[in-house]
């Protein structure tokens, strides 16, 4: 199974039915799969922080929400993740394309690439870094942990993850 198909299968097994997204080239095929699924409401948003807010409202309304974004968007979302999701105990699955990792060709991606894991650790947000063959299970586990602990959980997908796409 290709990386995107494996992630999508994980979303389906986890029961994710509401997705907000800000585009990333690596997440493109997964976003297409999500958009064509009549059981998932896919809402493109203008900024990742907005996606955190929309997902929080959707969860209050009974949905199982995920936010798909590039790791640059994590920087745009810090206050919302802390003073909305962590404050109230709101679960969120974050599927993050982790740019600025080994093999990155665009230098501007490197600073946030290096800061992504330390930022998540500093916030106490759990994260998992699957290989493509384990992506399906990782997504399911991440959402379960988010629901049980009432917290955002990140699935980080570095450049190497997408090589088989």
């Amino acid at each position: 199974m290709k990386p995107s198909a494996s992630l999508y299968s994980g979303l389906k097994h986890a029961g994710i039915d509401f997705v907000t997204s800000v585009p990333c080239v690596n997440l493109g095929p997964l976003m297409k799969l999500v958009s064509s699924d009549p059981c998932i409401l896919h809402l493109p948003v203008t900024r990742e922080e907005e996606g955190v807010g929309v997902c929080a409202g959707a969860w209050m309304g009974g949905k199982k929400p995920a936010l798909m974004m590039q790791n640059s968007g994590l920087g745009n979302s810090i206050n919302a993740l802390a003073s909305l999701d962590l404050l109230y105990g709101i679960p969120l699955l974050m599927v993050i394309s982790h740019r600025g990792t080994f093999g990155e060709k665009i230098s501007a991606q490197v600073p946030m690439g290096m800061l992504t894991e330390p930022l998540l650790s500093a916030m106490g947000i759990p994260f998992i870094k699957p290989r493509p063959e384990g992506a399906e299970g990782a997504v399911v586990d991440a959402w379960r942990a988010a629901e049980v602990k009432g917290t955002p959980v990140a699935v980080l997908l570095d450049l190497d993850f997408w090589r088989q796409e």
């Binding site: 907000t20 409202g57 959707a58 209050m60 309304g61 919302a80």
Partner: protein
Amino acid sequence: MKRMEAITAVARVAGDSLLVCNLGFPSRELFSAMDRPENFYMMGSMGLCSSIGLGLALARPDRKIISLDGDGAVLMNLGTLTTIACTAPANYLLVILDNCSYCSTGCQPTATSLKADLAEIARGAGVQRVIRVSDYENLIDALGGSGVVVAQVEAGNAEVPVIALPPKDVISRFRSTVRLIPDRAGSPTQLKRS
């Protein structure tokens, strides 16, 4: 009209509508005026009141959702007006209480005190129904539909205490009431007057 008067007027006719309220004094004023499980009081994440309400409205099309937001917070998250316009849920109304200032932090002026016009910005974002009001009668009349209401209110805060509920209690009782099926007949876009 004072902001607390506007908030009180909305809460009194809200029926079983779900209210999502902007952080700081607006939430404190709503809590003091009429605390109810159907109120979600924001305590952080400034700017996201409009987005939280949108997510809730999309998740629960059978419930009427009203976000009580402010000019400063909407200016912080203008992009979401375009998302609201593109999705246009029939059960969602964003009420912007525009006092031209950041009153929870000392009434520093916002851009709406100078050139910016949030009703025009909402129209430009593609919102089909945008209504301006400056008194309660028109505010109450505007609550029945969807889209955006820009309500002109006076700058200043009421003397009200901080919210005496922990955040996790606010959300747990709110979620419990969100799960309920509305008991009134008719369209979710209709409000009962009480």
